[in-house]
Assembly symmetry: C2
Homo-oligomer: 205 residues x 2
C-alpha cells in the first residue's frame, strides 16, 4: 500500500490526501510533526534529503517528494490530468505558479500567523511584502477564472487541487477573498466535486 | 515557428533556449527588457497575465508560461524526458525543488547583486537568509550527485537543464562552489552534452 508521510495542517499534504480520496486510492498516513523537527531526523532525511513533507513511499521502496510532483504521478492516466500535450503542460504551468507565486506568500503568511503571532519585526516587514505578492497571485487567478470554470481545459484537474489547498484557507493568512468573486465561485465548484474531503478529513478514503 | 519571449540574462529563459538548441528546434527569439518593465505592458500581460518571461508562443496562437512547464512540454517524447512514470515524476520533483528551494535564493541573490549593489538594509538581511537557504539547496544537490552522474535515471534530462541554469552562475550570486566537488563534476558533464550552448549563445540553433 502507498504510504504518505504528512503533517495534518499542511496544505501541500492536503493536496495529496484530497487527490487520493478522489481517486479512491487506499493509503497509509504517517503523521510527521514538522514543529518538533521530525522532518529533520536522520531517519526522515534518508527518505527525503530535502527534509519536507509530503513524501510518498511507493510499494517498491522508492520515494517521491514535492506535493505537485506527487499529484502529477498519481493523476497520470486518470481524468484529473488532461491527455492533450499543451493542456498537460498548462496544468504544470499553474502548479509552478502555485509553488513560486502563491505558496511562499499565502501559505507562509498563514504559517507565521498560526505559529509566530505576534510576528517579530523582520517577519512583520516580510508579511507586508507577502501580503502584496499574495494578492497579486490571487488577482491573476481571479482574472483567469472570470471566463473559465476551472484552471485548465474547462475541467477539474490537479491544477485546481494544487491551487485550492492554500486558497481555501487564505483567510488564515490574512488574505480576505471578498474582492475575488470568481475565485469564491471556483472554490465552491471545487468543493462540489465528487469525493471532495475537507482538510481535516480522516485518512482512509 | 515557435516564438520565445525572453530576457538574455535570465537563467529561467536560458533553460528553454538550451533545450531548444539541444532538440534542434528552430525558434524566433523576442527580447523583452524586464528592467524596463516590458513584461508589465498591457500587450505582454495579454499573453502572460503573470507578467514574466520566459513565455512560449505556439504556432496555433496559444501560450505557455513557467520555464519548467515549458521544458516539460518541449521534451515530451524526446530522450530528455524519461518514459518511466516514476522517473518522469522525479524530474518534476527536482524542477519543483529548483523553483522553490534553489531559484528564489540563488537566482534572486544573483539578480540583486547585479542590479542593487550595494544592497539596502532590508536586502542585506534577506541576502543572509538566501545565502543559508541557497547553500542548503546546493548541499542537497551535492549529496544526491555523489552517487549519480545526473539527477534522474542515470541520464541527462530536463531536470539537469533546470538545475544547471542558475547553478553554473551561482558565483555571481555570491555562492562559491569550492565545497561541492560532485556538483562541479556534474556541471562539467552537463557542459559536455551534445548541442550544449552557453547562456549568451545567439538565438538560432
Amino acid at each position: 500500500m502507498l504510504r504518505l508521510y504528512d503533517y495534518a495542517d499542511s496544505g501541500n499534504g492536503y493536496k495529496v490526501r484530497l487527490l487520493l480520496h478522489q481517486l479512491g486510492q487506499p493509503f497509509e498516513l504517517i503523521e510527521v510533526d514538522i514543529l518538533r523537527g521530525e522532518t529533520r531526523s536522520e531517519e526522515f532525511l534518508r527518505m527525503n534529503p530535502n527534509g519536507r513533507v509530503p513524501l510518498l513511499a511507493l510499494e517498491d521502496g522508492r520515494y517521491l517528494a514535492e506535493s505537485d510532483a506527487i499529484l502529477f504521478y498519481l493523476a497520470e492516466g486518470t481524468p484529473l490530468l488532461p491527455d492533450e500535450r499543451l493542456e498537460r503542460a498548462q496544468v504544470l504551468q499553474w502548479m509552478f505558479f502555485e509553488q513560486y507565486n502563491h505558496e511562499p506568500n499565502i501559505a507562509t503568511a498563514r504559517f507565521w500567523l498560526r505559529h509566530f503571532d505576534p510576528p517579530d519585526e523582520q517577519r512583520r516587514v516580510l508579511l507586508e511584502q507577502k501580503r502584496a505578492a499574495g494578492h497579486a497571485a490571487l488577482s491573476v487567478m481571479e482574472a483567469h477564472l472570470r471566463a473559465r470554470p476551472f484552471f485548465v481545459g474547462g475541467r477539474y484537474s490537479i491544477a485546481d487541487i494544487a491551487l485550492y489547498a492554500y486558497t481555501h484557507v487564505a483567510d488564515q493568512g490574512g488574505f480576505h477573498l471578498g474582492g475575488y468573486p470568481a475565485l469564491r465561485a471556483w472554490l465552491e465548484r471545487v468543493r462540489g466535486q465528487p469525493g471532495h474531503v475537507p482538510m481535516d478529513a480522516p485518512a482512509a478514503p
